[in-house]
Structure formats: structure tokens, C-alpha cells
Symmetry: D2
Subunit: 387 residues, 4 copies
């Protein structure tokens, strides 16, 4: 190579690895969450620059050999296995990403932590508060980094809401009303495990209401009591289709929480609104790039602003396109994993912007209270256990 | 007058009266509701043609002599009085329109009915279920026509919703979620009687939640039980600021009901959504000309339709401008009074499209249950009394 | 009557007339505009209090004797006639409201003015700029008050837009884009005169584009040149269905103007947006209570505010219900006539918030330029005549 | 490894390459488009499965050595260079992706094609119709696959619009009105090359209006004539800030096209609407997952449907998350490159769903006509050259 050419061209292979350390990842699950996690892991190497750590996709585990092999090939995992214990045993893996069915959250997550691996476990953490507590307790004892997959904390508009609340922009919060509505529960038969109480633990409660509870806690604070109705509408279905609840927060705020798989026309409508003494915020996941903001001290022409959360001074701007170029649902997983890798790299803590397994456990306490309140007909006060 | 001129011109005074009978109206109240009722009564003579009866504004009653005299002059009442008993005693009055404070609903309404006058009483009917029951019972015994002022049944989009439900367009209803949000409760001091428990009976419950309950009953059916939180946020305020509730319907549908005067940025946002087995409906009073409609059997490009309810085949078209020319909140009172006058004229019954005093009573039972549930912490089953 | 009773009750008949003078009104037209005008005139006596003048509905004129007699009976005109000259000749009439077909704008309006009557003439003023100029000239010479029925200047949100612009809230305007879309032109055969070039002068241009032009002038200023395409899509139709234009304002702003009767799904969608150096405004007549407002100097969470124009400090608040209680299309005529009666009573001038006949003429010059530009294929500079 | 373990686990490295052929890619540009292209190329290996070809990121070229080296490292290019001719000379490269400034579109694109490489060139194709024609001619002669980067054809809602139009759902199109509005032109000084006529060719015209023109052609058909105003508002700026135009299509449809960088509050609002004889469609890029659809033959409750274009039977479903889980702007590049790789692999042709360089040329003819019409003041008929 001539000197001149050397000046204007370069080979870069192997250079990046020298700069940013790799982290070996083992993935449990290849279906919906497996795909979401794997795509995010692939994108982390370049989505923001430089990355805190570069994921190395070491192995993926799943029950069906053919499908897990296909997923390994598609997403570039070096190996696959039908036994998640192989992930736990693998010294090349430093992070277990658990996107398996709810019944496979406890044992692999705890085992991985006990083997010294950091763990990211999908929500709901366990199938019950009891199981969730055991996961949290087991993992916390291992002193690894842990995170619960409440990815909606990583929607830019949600993070902006949190920042506005922290900055006092809405004042003291009085109301939180939220509903997570889908409609595939009307007749869907494809996702069998989600309708199996043994595997899923619950229906709309664990799948959807747990998201609402986490966001309530993330934006408003701890929930003190709930009154709820839980209902199964579809004959012969063994899990709940819907839950309706009123909630009291420790702060004194009150509100409603709802989750349903039977709201025709609402495909993925996680809608919430917050009213405080100084302003209000509103959000709909089907328009996840937008936050609606009202300020009481606005000028004469007052009203809810539709804020397109794509600005350079908005959350997650380091991943973003220019203003007005919206992001998608899948991007939230990129931000979520980036946050966790940053925590593993020591650049930040998982909390408070990410959900820890304690957050996962606490959400489960509230979800359990929905069920017990529905049965008892009473408002249930929630007592949170500590380690 | 020449023959030719006689052919092309005419004097019409006194002709109309000969065709459509008049009905003498006595109005109780001159403030917000007094203005809404009076404006509607003035417009009835020509709003749809011919009218069922032509209102004659005989007299208006109110506590403050100066203000009631001013209202009489403004709206063209022939007389005014500071004693509502004058209305009851007046043989020229065949209809009492009661828009006074809640504490003046019971006695004047019953007395007028006992004097043989038809009665339209504003909501909430009484300050409690007990008082509401007494009003209903007293009036029903008099065998006059009666109506409770739930004017939102007369929003064209709401009536269309009812018609679509009756036609089976949404199938079996599973969810009803509704919230009536205002924000003037943050610091308002003008409407004193609304914050006085003696005069108002309750705060957001009677003022706003009663509307929600009536619409729930109008669209979905009878409410069987409720769990509720009632809260007063503003220090030294003696009525409730907000109520949050979950509800069960006799049909098996479940949902949430909320009312608050503290939702900053929501000025008059009565929002509700219904999900059934065949479709969904959604509404916001701040855009009262629109009904959002989803049908499960729609073609491939499915979604909520924003229906502008201003078409010739839509409800209340006989009052309407051409399609796309929207109506206002005040128009709902014109439709409401027209409905009641039609009932008095024998052309239709008040129920089921208008609310009777029984509907007013039943809404009050639910509202009382909100309070008792909030106190007891229990889901309260609602028992409705009959005559 | 006892002394005590005298204190608490009163008869008011004939008192109002003593305070607020009456003005005799003659109405030309009983169809769409006739109904809108008549309803507004009836409401003026009490809509805001006290009224500047109390309309006395003296007579109504129209071609069909049966229909005009019916309209007289419905709206309470004292007399009817099939010859508009009777209105001109009637000394009890001080104001002619001309809501007849466009072909009946010129002669009756000029004759009424020459007879010393104030005139309110519907838009488009004439069927051409030439005819419009003659009307303006004839009326101006008579030194009566005159107004052109551009009622959209009296939409609260539009007036608020004007006030915000005057206050510098949007800075220097760079863009105005507007379109008035309806869809009844697809197959409607009812409104025959609107498709008759002799009676209407034009199609979508006079009916819809004239509104757009007036609002452009009201909000942005004088139009200097246009390039346009005028098109008739429906076979055998003799007037235009649609016009598309680019416009230059004297101020340097540029934009687009469109009007069509063939935009399926748009029933009455007069949408416009303004972009300035400091902010933007947007509006849609199908949601006429809302103004969308963007301010460049807003805080970090920027976005278009949806302002519900129903506040006490918003335009036309003296007519309004409490905040959040929206008004309808028909209400704009109440505000418009109130404005004109105030001007007649000497309390204000018609301009600049109301449109004078000069405004009617100037809009017609622009509309004519649409046609000539479409024919010539050239950008047409507009020269406005003066008196 | 035991037999049992062999059954449940597997190593997959090197297997994928054996199945799906690689294609070597050379990238020109590392800024906005370079990032969008590179991200998409990285995701293609797994975004849909199996991919038509697996991109191998061979080399990236750019002017600034430090920045191009950084981009190479970030996105995983094997080499970098400051001389695009190195890409043309590289036999490992079979596809040149040209995301450089407009002034670097012609020479590298033609040279790469002449070297037998497939080419994807960003829009606008050239800085003028003449230059665009030369690019198209040069590349077509080389008989390689070519595509122009009109990525908005690959928005799922846009493709669905096209499919609905093809299926006759909107009937014969009468109107197309579109505007591409941004606001960073108010004061931005960062993207220097975009304001340099030598490098960019034009301002809002090439940057934004070219997108509008391509979509007009994609959805409605060929444009026959235009009348336009082109304007530079910001002092000392050497390119246009805005263009306003009326257009005629060969089909007889008419409409407006606008592009501006000065519409405050509109960050990336490419909005368009189509009205036909059977229905209407509307779209806003800031809500790119939604298509608004109106059908004239809908039932009594008619209105625009807001269709969330995320269903299994919607375009690009093979890349998608479950219904209701929206995608982002960056995803359109994944779909676009996938389309082009499929075409290279022989599975489909670039046209009509992708834009060829002929489409790039034709859009440039319309853009040039905007300028000439603005200068001449005349409606300009457009003549398209052929090879």
C-alpha cells in the first residue's frame, strides 16, 4: 500500500473489540420476547456510540430444538440448546436475558445469578408475589446486577414524563388513570402458554396490568391499596381476561387501573393520564412518540400540547434520528438493554430509571392484591416485604 | 290592499298560536341551568317545525330579586318572583322547570306535581338516594309527566351510540369506562352553593358522576355493584372533589367510573368508551359532535372511525344544519325540552330515551353507593327500590 | 296585591322595549341562510345582555309563497311577501338581511341601501368582481352600515387567531395554507340554484373559496397574486367543482388556497394553517371550538397546543357557556349579527372584525383571478379598485 | 460431547453463510443518510427471515478521515476510505449505496454502475433534471439494478394506500394535496452543505418537495403540469426555503404540493390526502403508523377510520411486531434495502413498488418545473425524456 493510500483508507477489523469490552449473553426464549431481546442486542453495538459494552451472542435456549436452532441462525447466536441449564453453566456468558414463559422465570434467573451472571428477567417477574419475592431474594443475594423487563420505562415520552414530574412541572399528583387495552383475547388461540395458568400465572393481569402498575409506581409512587374486579369473559378460558381497579397511592393520589384483552379496536393501547396541582400529562402507546402536556401557568391560549418526543434535549436522544423522525416499539428494547449494559459497566445504577427485580416483586404484590380484592370484595391494603 | 298584492304577501300574527297549543312554563333558577333552560325554551318555538307545543314563559323564580328580575327581562318571562310557591300556585303554568340548587329540587318539584304540573327537574334529582326516591314517589303519585335533566342523553352522538347498541352493532357489551373531568375545582370560589353540602348534597359525585352513572345505565344497563374511593383534596372544602370507582353491570359487563373537578386541562371532558363482542364506541364531550366507532367485521383496513354526527339520518336531524355544521352544548337542552314537550303532547313517552325521575333516583342509589363503598372499603351491591 | 307580594314578584311585560331600542328587520331568503339568519335574529334579544338593539322581525321575502309563509310562521315574522321590493318599501324595516341566491344580491341590497336601510348581504357578494364592486359602490354611496356575511370571522377560534396575530404571537407570517372541503358535490341534486351559473355565478369558488379568501385577508392581509386551476369534474355540471391555487400576499407570505365540493369524507372541513417567525396556528371548522397554537419560545416540551376556545377571556365570551361547553356553527351567526347591530347602534365599527362590502368586493377580485389564471395559465396580479 | 447433549445443543457458526449468499456493500456517506443506510444494512441479516441476501459491509467512504474511520468502526465496515473511487475499484463490492451530498450523486453512481455494481442512490437523484437524466442514462446502460432512495414508498401506511388505490377502494382520484413541512430552516446553521447550491442543488425543493413529487407519482400517477412559487425567506440564504405549487396529473386529478423548512412546530410533517370517487385517504409522517381511510359506501355511521398499519395482512408484516406495536422512521430503510436486495436476488423487480433511477429523474423534471414556473409566472407543462 502506498503512503498516500494509507492516509486515505484503513482496515478496521478487530479494532473495536480492543476499545469496548464484550459481554457474553445467553438468551432464554426465542418467541416474541426472544426476538425483541435479540434484535436489541444486535443493534447495541452501533445504536449509540460508543456502546458501554458490546454484546456477544453466545447461546440461546428454548424448548423446541428446530425453532431454537432457527433463532440462533437468524440472530447470530454462536450456539443453541434446549436446556437452559447449559446457559447457566457456560462461563462465556456473563448476562442471562430471560424472555421465556413466566413459569421459567424463577429457576433459571436465580440459578444464573447464583452462577455470578447478571440477569434481565422479563415481566411479570414471577407468577405470584411469593414467587417474585423469591426471585428477587435469590438474585439479590448473589450481588449481580438485575433488571426487570418493564420496557415502557424506556419509551422516550414516558421518560420525559418522569423528568417533568421530577422537575415539578405537574406539581403534586392527584390522579393517575391508566388502562392497557388489547383485543386479541377475543378469539386468539395461537399463544397457548399465555392462557395456561400453570405457565403464565395469570392472564391480562400479569401480561398487561403489571406494566400499568410499574408505570404507576415509576411516575406517581408506591401504591397503598387497591379495590379490583377480575373477570374471565371467554368461556373455558382459565386465566383472567380483564381487571378493573381503583388505587390509592401513598402520596394521597388516587386513580384507576385497568387491563383487558377484550377491548375491540385497541390493539396495544396503553393509555394513561396524570393530573397534578400544576399540570397534566397524557400518553397512548399506540402513539408512543407523543406526550400530551398541560401547564396551568400557560398563557391565555391554554391547552394540551402534543409534544413529539424526538428532540435533541429529549430522553434517549443519543439513539435518535433528527427531530420529527419517530421511533418504534422495538427501539425501547435497545434503550433498555443499553441502560442495563451501562449499569453493568458501572456507569450508572439500574434504579431508579430502570426497574430492578424489587420493582418486579412490588408490581407482583399489587397484581396479587387485584385478585384478592376481587375475591374478597374489599379494598386491600398492600404490604411490601423487604429483604 | 290590491288583489295582486294580497297574493304575494301576508300578515301572520296570531296564526301560529291557533295551530300549535301553548304550554305555560314556570322556571325555577336563573343561574347556569336557568340560562340553559330559558334559552332552550325560547328556541323551541322554531328550532324544529312544527313544535309539539309552544312554550309560553309565564314566570321565573329565584332568591335574589334583582337577578331574577333581570333574568325575566332578558329571557322574556312575563313575571318574576322570589318565592317558588308562586309558580306552584299559578294556574297558567302547566310545566315547572326546576333548575335551582339541589336543595330546592325536592319540595318545589313535588309540590308542582301535586298541583298537576308536569315537572322537569335538573340532576342530581335529590341530594341523596332517599331524597331522590321521595321526589320520584311524590311526583309519580301525581300522575304528571316527569323528566330528570340528564341532557347528555340528548347529545346526537350519544343517542347514535344508543341506537347502534340497540341495533346490535357492538354485540354484547363487556366494558364501560368513563370519566367526567373538569378542573375548575382547583381554586374556584364563585359557585358557592356547589361547595355547600347542605345545598349541593355532594361535590363531583352529584354534579358529574351522576351524569356518568346515567349514561352508563342508558347505554349499558343497570349497575349491580360498585367499589369506590371518594376524596376531598382541597383543604377546608366540605364536599368531595373526586370519585374513582369500579362497577359491575347486571349484564356482566364491568368497568370504571370516575368524576373529578381537579383534572387540570380538562374543562368539560366527559369521556367514555364501550367495548363489546362486535365493536367499540368512544366519545368525548369536548368534541360532542363526534362518535368514534369500531366494527370487528370491518374490511382489512380496520380502525376507529371518527363519525361526525351531523347527517340527515342521524339523531336530532330535524334540528340540524347541513352535514358537517356542528352543534353546541346548548343545543342539547333544545332537544331535551323538545322531547319532553313531545311527551306532554302525547307523541311519545319520556322513557326510554329521556330520563324519568325513576332514572334520577336510580342514579342517586349508585352515587350513594360510591360514598358508602368508600367508607366501608367494600364492594357495595345496589338494591333499587320500587314504588 | 299585598305589599309583601309586590316586593317578591313582578310583571315585566313591555319593560325591555323601553330600555333597548328595536330595529325592524326584513329578511330576504328562507332556505339555508334564511334559517341561519332568522334563528340568530331570534336569539339576539337574550343571547348577550343587554343587546345593542332588539331585532323586530317585520317581514320575510322569498319566491315560493307557501314556503315563505311557512318560514314567516316558524320564525315569527309579522308578514311575508314574494316580492323583495316590499321589504325595500317598508318603512318599518331599518335593516335588510339578504340571504337570497347570489343573483339576488345586487339589486335588493343596493335598493335597500338607497332606501336608507342598513344591509347585511351574504357571501359571495356578487357573482363577479364587477357585480360585487357595483354593490359596494351603490351601498357605500347611501351611507348606511353594511356588512358581508363572512360568518367565519365570528368563530371564536378564528377571532382568537386574529388577536394572537395582532399581539405578535406568531411573528411575521410566512405561510398560509387553507382548504375548504365538502363532498356533497359528488352527486347532490337538491340545491339546484347552486349549480346554475346564472343564479350562483360560480360553484365551489363563490360558495367556498370566497370564505377562504376572506379569512386569508382577515388573518394575513391583502393578496397580491394568484395562480390557479379551476376544474369541473362532474359531467354536465355548469359550475366549477374545485379550485386549487397558490397565492402571494403583499406582506411576502406565500401559500395555497383550495376549495372543493368533491373531497369525500370532508363534510364541512375548512382547514387552515399559518406559520410565522414566532409560531404557528391551525384550525379545522369541523372542530370549530379548537385552535391549535405553537409557540417557538415555549419550554423544552414544545408542541402544538389544542386550545379549547371557550374561556372567559376568549372572544365572544359574553355569549358563552362555562369553559369546555362548546358552541356550534349556528352560534357564529348570533355573534355576527350582534356585531352588526352594535355597529348600527354606534358602539363599534363594522371593520376590521366584521367584513364590509368592500371586503366582499375584494374577495371577489381574488376569486375572479382564480378563474382568469386558470384560463390564462399565468400568475395573475390583482388590482383592487377603490371608490 | 455426549450423544444426549449433542441432541439438545448445537454450534451454528458459519452455517448461515452457507445458505444465504452475501453481497458486498460499499457505502458512500457517513452522516444522516450514511447512518440510516448502515443501520438498515446491519439489521437486514435478521430483520426478516431468511434474508434475500446478507449484506457484508465491505467499506465506507467519506471526506473526513476521522469521521469516516469512526463510522466504519461503529457500523462494522471492514475498511474505510476518503476516496469514493476506492469503492468503485473494489471487486468485493457488488452494491454501492450512495448517501453522499447531492453533488456526489452523479459521478460515483455512474462509475459504480459502469464497474458492474448495483446502485442505490439517495434522493434527489441529481441537482437538476439534466444531471438526474445523465445518472439514469449512465446507470441504465450498465444494466445493473438501480434504485432511488425514496424511502417513504416503504412506509407501511403508504404502501397500504397504494394497495387500496390499486384495489379500487378510492375509485378515480380527483385530488391530491400534500405538504412536507419542517421547521429547522428557521435558524439552523449545522447542515452547511444543504444550504450550498453547489452541493445541494436546491433547498426545500430537492430535500422535501422531491419526496412529495415521488409519492404523488407513486399514488396518483404522472404529473402533467405545475404552477409554482419558490421563495427564499431567510436573508443571505442561497437556496430556496419553500415551494408552493398547483399540479395537474395526466389522469385529470388536480391538487397542491408544498414543501417548506419554515413551518414552525412541524418537525417532519409530510402530510397528504387523496380524494377519489369512492373514498379518501390521508396520512401524516409524524404518525407514520396510521392511515386515515374513508369509504363512501360505508354504513350509516360514516367517517375517516384511523387504521393502525401494523396487522399481519398489512405491508411489511414479515418485519413487524404484533399488531399495535408501532415501527419507526428508521425501519423504512430496512424495508427499502430488503426490497432492493430481493430485486438483486431476482425475486422481484425494483419497480413499481421501489423507485428506480427513472423515477428519480422524473421527480427532478417536476422539481425543475417548479423553479421555471416560479420564474416565468406560467403553468409549465412537463415533458419527460426517455432513453
Amino acid at each position: 500500500m502506498s503512503d498516500e493510500k494509507a492516509k486515505r483508507t484503513g482496515a478496521r477489523r478487530h479494532e473495536a473489540a480492543a476499545k469496548v469490552p464484550e459481554i457474553g449473553v445467553g438468551m432464554l426464549g426465542y418467541a416474541f420476547m426472544g426476538k425483541a431481546h435479540s434484535s436489541a442486542l444486535r443493534r447495541l453495538a452501533y445504536a449509540a456510540w460508543p456502546p458501554p459494552l458490546v454484546p456477544r451472542l453466545v447461546a440461546i435456549a428454548g424448548r423446541n430444538a428446530e425453532q431454537v436452532a432457527g433463532a440462533a441462525e437468524r440472530f447470530g447466536y454462536e450456539r443453541w440448546t434446549t436446556d437452559w441449564r447449559d446457559l447457566v453453566a457456560d462461563p462465556q456468558i456473563q448476562l442471562l436475558s430471560n424472555g421465556g414463559p413466566n413459569s421459567l422465570h424463577a429457576e433459571p434467573t436465580i440459578a444464573a445469578a447464583e452462577a455470578g451472571k447478571h440477569v434481565l428477567c422479563e415481566k411479570p417477574l414471577g407468577r405470584s408475589a411469593e414467587e417474585s419475592y423469591e426471585i428477587w431474594r435469590g438474585v439479590a443475594a448473589a450481588e449481580v446486577k438485575h433488571m426487570c423487563g418493564f420496557n415502557y420505562r424506556f419509551v422516550p415520552a414516558v421518560r420525559l414524563a418522569r423528568e417533568l414530574i421530577e422537575a415539578g412541572e405537574v406539581g403534586e399528583i392527584r390522579h393517575f388513570r391508566a388502562r392497557y387495552m388489547q383485543d386479541w383475547g377475543v378469539d386468539d388461540t395461537r399463544q397457548a402458554w399465555r392462557f395456561d395458568p400453570e405457565q403464565a400465572g395469570s392472564g391480562a393481569i400479569g401480561d398487561l396490568a403489571s406494566h400499568v402498575v410499574d408505570l404507576a409506581r415509576f411516575l406517581v409512587g408506591e401504591i397503598g391499596s387497591v379495590s379490583a374486579l377480575v373477570r374471565t369473559f371467554v368461556p373455558e378460558r382459565r386465566v383472567d381476561d380483564a381487571v378493573e381497579a381503583t388505587v390509592e397511592f401513598h402520596s394521597g393520589a388516587i386513580g384507576t387501573i385497568e387491563a383487558t384483552r377484550l377491548a375491540l379496536g385497541r390493539r396495544n393501547a396503553f393509555q394513561w393520564e396524570i393530573n397534578g396541582t400544576e399540570g397534566s400529562l397524557a400518553f397512548d402507546l399506540e402513539r408512543l412518540n407523543e406526550l400530551r402536556v398541560f401547564r396551568a401557568d400557560d398563557l391565555r391560549a391554554r391547552g394540551f400540547k402534543t409534544v413529539l418526543v424526538t428532540e435533541p434535549d429529549h430522553p434517549f436522544a443519543e439513539f435518535a434520528w433528527p427531530p420529527g423522525h419517530i421511533v418504534g416499539w422495538g427501539d425501547t428494547f435497545v434503550y433498555e438493554f443499553h441502560h442495563f449494559l451501562s449499569a453493568i459497566a458501572g456507569e450508572r445504577s439500574v434504579a431508579p430509571y430502570g426497574a430492578t427485580l424489587e420493582d418486579g416483586y412490588r408490581a407482583a404484590e399489587v397484581c396479587d392484591a387485584f385478585v384478592s380484592s376481587s375475591r374478597s370484595g374489599r379494598r386491600e391494603k398492600i404490604v411490601y416485604r423487604t429483604l
